[in-house]
C-alpha cells in the first residue's frame, strides 16, 4: 500500500512574518498559515482539501509547487525530498507537479496567443520534440479545436480559458496536478464541462489530483478522499463517501449545514441541528487549545486549553481521522 504513495506531506508548517511588535519591534508577528499538516496522496486518487479563506489550503499548494519554502516539515514526492536543494528544484522534478489556478483571466498572459502560452512549458521541458504537433495534440486532448492556438485569451470564454490552463499544465506530462479552485470563477453551466474533462483526463493519463476548493458539493462528486482544514490545521480526513454520510468533527458538520442545497434528499444529509455561529478568528491571534473552540457548539472546558490530537473515530476505521477531544475520549486515549 505504501508503494502507492506519490506525495507525502509530513508535519508541514509555514509561518509568515507579517510585522513586528514589542518595544524595540523585535518580536515578530506571525501568521501560522499552515501549522503541522500531514497527509499522503495515493497514486491515481483525487485528494480534496476543503476550507474557508485563511485555512491554509492554497499555501499547501504553493509550497508543493515550490513557490514557498516550508518553515519546517517535509514533502516527499515519489520518495524524493522536494526541498533537498532548497528552492532550487531540479527540472525533472518540476515537470512532474503542475498547477491550475482559480482565475484563468489572470493566470494566462493576455498578450500571448494560446500557441505561445502552450509553447513555453514545452520549450523548457521537451525542446527536442516537434512542438507544433505537440500543441495540436494538447488541444485535441482537451477537446478544443486546433484553430484556437491562434487566439488570444480574451477571445475565449471563461470556461475555455480554464481548459487552456489545464492544457498548459498537461504540457509537461506531469503525474501530479494541483487544482486550486479550478471552477470557482466559472458559472455553474460551464463548471460541469471542466470537471468532467478533469475526470476524463485523470482516467486517461493516470493523474493524481490535489483538489482544493471551498465547495463541498463539487468535492462530493470528484474526490476519493477529503480533508477539512480550519485555520492552518486539518480537522478531519476521510474517504469521500464515508465523509458525507457521517461527518464527525463539529466544524465539518457546521460547514455541511451551511451549504445551500437544491433538493430534499440533500437536505436530509445536512446535520440540521448544527447552526453556524461566531466569527472565524484572526490567524494572527489564534485561540488557545483547539482553534475551533470559540465557535464549537459542543465545546468542553478541556478544549479551551489543550490542543486535540488527530485520532481515528473508532479503532476499526483508521482511515477516518478527526482532530477533536470528543473522539479522544471515545477512544479511551489519554491526553498528554
Amino acid at each position: 500500500m505504501s508503494d502507492d504513495v506519490i506525495l507525502r506531506i509530513d508535519n508541514l508548517r509555514k509561518h509568515f512574518i507579517v510585522g513586528r511588535k514589542g518595544i524595540i519591534k523585535r518580536e515578530p508577528i506571525t501568521v501560522k498559515a499552515v501549522d503541522g499538516v500531514s497527509f499522503d496522496l495515493q497514486r491515481g486518487e483525487t485528494f480534496g482539501i476543503v476550507g474557508e479563506s485563511g485555512s491554509g489550503k492554497s499555501t499547501i499548494a504553493y509550497i508543493t509547487m515550490g513557490m514557498y519554502l516550508p518553515t519546517s516539515g517535509t514533502i516527499t514526492f515519489n520518495g524524493r525530498d522536494l526541498f533537498e536543494r532548497g528552492d532550487r528544484r531540479p527540472l525533472d522534478l518540476r515537470k512532474e507537479i503542475q498547477i491550475v489556478f482559480q482565475d484563468p483571466g489572470s493566470s494566462l498572459n493576455p498578450r500571448r496567443t494560446i500557441r505561445q502560452i502552450l509553447d513555453l512549458p514545452l520549450s523548457i521541458h521537451q525542446p527536442e520534440k516537434d512542438r507544433l504537433t505537440e500543441i495540436i495534440r494538447l488541444l485535441e486532448m482537451v477537446d478544443l479545436p486546433p484553430e484556437f492556438m491562434h487566439k488570444y485569451p480574451r477571445q475565449l470564454s471563461g470556461g475555455e480559458r480554464q481548459i487552456v490552463a489545464i492544457a498548459r499544465a498537461l504540457a509537461t506530462n506531469p503525474s501530479l496536478m494541483i487544482l486550486d479552485e479550478p471552477t470557482s470563477a466559472l458559472d455553474v453551466s460551464v463548471q460541469g464541462k471542466v470537471i468532467n474533462l478533469l475526470i476524463r483526463l485523470q482516467r486517461e493519463l493516470n493523474l493524481t489530483y490535489l483538489f482544493i476548493t471551498h465547495d463541498l458539493s463539487v468535492m462530493r462528486n470528484l474526490a476519493t478522499r477529503v480533508a477539512i482544514m480550519y485555520l492552518g490545521r486539518v480537522a478531519e480526513v476521510a474517504e469521500a463517501e464515508h465523509f458525507f454520510e457521517s461527518p464527525q468533527h463539529p466544524y465539518t458538520q457546521m460547514l455541511l449545514s451551511s451549504i445551500p442545497v437544491l433538493t430534499e434528499a440533500e437536505e436530509a444529509l445536512r446535520p440540521a441541528q448544527i447552526r453556524s455561529t461566531g466569527e472565524i478568528p484572526s490567524p494572527v491571534d489564534l485561540p488557545s487549545g483547539c482553534s475551533f473552540h470559540t465557535r464549537c457548539p459542543q465545546v468542553m472546558d478541556h478544549c479551551r486549553h489543550v490542543d486535540p490530537l488527530m485520532v481515528p473515530i473508532d479503532v476499526t476505521d483508521s482511515d477516518h481521522i478527526v482532530r477533536c477531544h470528543l473522539f479522544e475520549q471515545a477512544n479511551g486515549q489519554v491526553q498528554s
Partner: protein, 346 residues
C-alpha cells in the same frame, strides 16, 4: 392571478448600451413585478442582466452609454423613468434600499461606521434632517442592534478595515434597513463571504425580512439560496426573462430548457456525478439571435425558435400558482396576452 397592486412593476423594459462599435441590446423587453411583502428571487448567470435590471430601477445606470428605448417601471404606482431628480432622491432615500455583493467596496474606508450610518439616516428623508446628534446616534445604534452586532457603541467609532467581512455585510444590511425602505434589494449578499459566515448573514437577512414583512428582491446565481429565501423566482437568460414560478414549483418542476439545464448542472451533495452543463456560450449582445436567445444552446430547439422570439406562455395550473415560461415547447398552453396588464389598475 392576484388583483393586488404590485409595489414594483416593470413592463416591457429594454435597455441598450451604445458603445464603440455598435449597440449592446442587453435587456430585451423584460417583465417583472413584486407584490407588497413578497420575496422575489432573480436568478441567472454572469452577464445575463440581473444587475443591469436593478440599476435601471434605481436609475443609477450612467446614460450614455445606457439608453432605455422602451418600457415602464412603476414603483408605488409612479413611473420611475419619468421621475424628477427630487422624486428620485426621495425614492432612493426611503423607497428602495440595496445591499451589494462586496461589503468592502460598499463602505467608505475613510469614514467611521457611525459617520456613514448617520449620514444615511439623515438624508433618507426631510424630517430626519432635523434630528439632533443624539437622536441620530440612537437611530444608528438601533440599526446595528437589529443586525445582531455585539458592542454597537464601539462599532460606531470603528472603521471598515477593523471589521471582518461578515461584520461589514451586517453593517451594510443594518444601513439598508435603517431608512425603513419599502423594498429591499440584495445583490449577491453572501457571495463574497465564507460558507459558514454566508449562512449566518443570509439567515439574519431572512429573519429581518420576515419580521418586518419587507418586499424583497434577491439577486443571485446560487440556486440553493433562492430556494431557501424566496416565494417566487424569475429566471433570466441573456437579457430575457425565461421563466417565472413560485419557488417550490420551480424547483420541483422547472419547464424552460435553460432552467432545467441550470438545475442539472449544480453538483449535488448526494453525489452521482456532475452533468456536462449547457453547451455553448451566452450570445453576443451586439448581435443577439433573432428568435429565442437560448435557441443556439437548447437541446430541444425547433425551427421556429431561431425565427421568432417566444411569447410568454402561462402553464395551465391551479389558478393561484402562476407559472409562466417563454418557450415554444409550451405553445399549446394558454397564451398570456397583454402580460400583466390587468394586474395594475391605472
Amino acid at each position: 392571478m392576484t388583483q393586488e397592486t404590485p409595489l414594483l412593476d416593470i413592463r416591457d423594459l429594454s435597455v441598450h448600451f451604445h458603445v464603440y462599435g455598435g449597440v449592446l441590446k442587453v435587456l430585451d423587453r423584460i417583465n417583472f413585478h413584486v407584490l407588497p411583502g413578497e420575496r422575489v428571487g432573480l436568478v441567472g448567470e454572469t452577464g445575463c442582466g440581473k444587475t443591469t435590471t436593478m440599476k435601471t430601477i434605481l436609475r443609477v445606470l450612467p446614460s450614455p452609454p445606457a439608453n432605455i428605448p422602451e418600457g415602464e417601471i412603476f414603483f408605488q404606482e409612479r413611473d420611475v423613468l419619468k421621475m424628477s431628480q427630487r422624486e428620485l432622491v426621495h425614492m432612493r432615500g426611503q423607497g428602495i434600499s440595496m445591499i451589494f455583493q462586496d461589503p468592502t467596496a460598499a463602505l467608505n474606508p475613510v469614514f467611521s461606521i457611525g459617520q456613514q450610518l448617520t449620514a444615511v439616516i439623515r438624508y433618507a428623508s426631510p424630517e430626519n434632517q432635523n434630528l439632533n446628534k443624539n437622536q441620530l446616534r440612537e437611530r444608528a445604534l438601533q440599526a446595528l442592534r437589529q443586525v445582531a452586532l455585539a458592542d454597537p457603541e464601539r462599532l460606531l467609532d470603528s472603521y471598515p478595515v477593523q471589521l471582518s467581512g461578515g461584520m461589514r455585510q451586517r453593517v451594510c444590511i443594518g444601513m439598508a434597513l435603517a431608512t425603513q425602505p419599502g423594498l429591499l434589494i440584495a445583490d449577491e449578499p453572501g457571495t463574497a463571504l465564507d460558507v459558514t459566515i454566508q449562512d449566518q448573514v443570509l439567515r439574519l437577512l431572512q429573519n429581518l425580512v420576515e419580521q418586518r414583512g419587507n418586499s424583497f428582491i434577491l439577486i443571485t446565481h446560487t440556486l440553493g439560496i433562492v430556494r431557501q429565501m424566496t416565494d417566487r423566482v424569475y429566471v433570466m437568460y441573456a437579457g430575457n426573462m425565461v421563466e417565472v414560478a413560485p419557488t417550490r414549483r420551480l424547483f420541483t418542476n422547472p419547464l424552460h430548457p435553460y432552467t432545467q439545464g441550470l438545475m442539472d448542472a449544480v453538483p449535488r451533495l448526494t453525489g452521482g456525478g456532475i452533468s456536462e452543463g449547457i453547451p455553448g456560450r451566452i450570445p453576443d449582445y451586439m448581435d443577439p439571435p433573432s428568435g429565442c436567445r437560448f435557441s443556439s444552446r437548447c437541446p430541444h430547439a425547433m425551427p421556429v425558435c431561431s425565427r421568432e422570439k417566444p411569447p410568454v406562455f402561462q402553464v395551465e395550473e391551479p389558478a393561484d400558482e402562476s407559472h409562466e415560461v417563454a418557450c415554444f415547447l409550451y405553445d399549446d398552453a394558454q397564451k398570456v396576452s397583454n402580460y400583466k396588464a390587468e394586474a395594475v389598475p391605472v
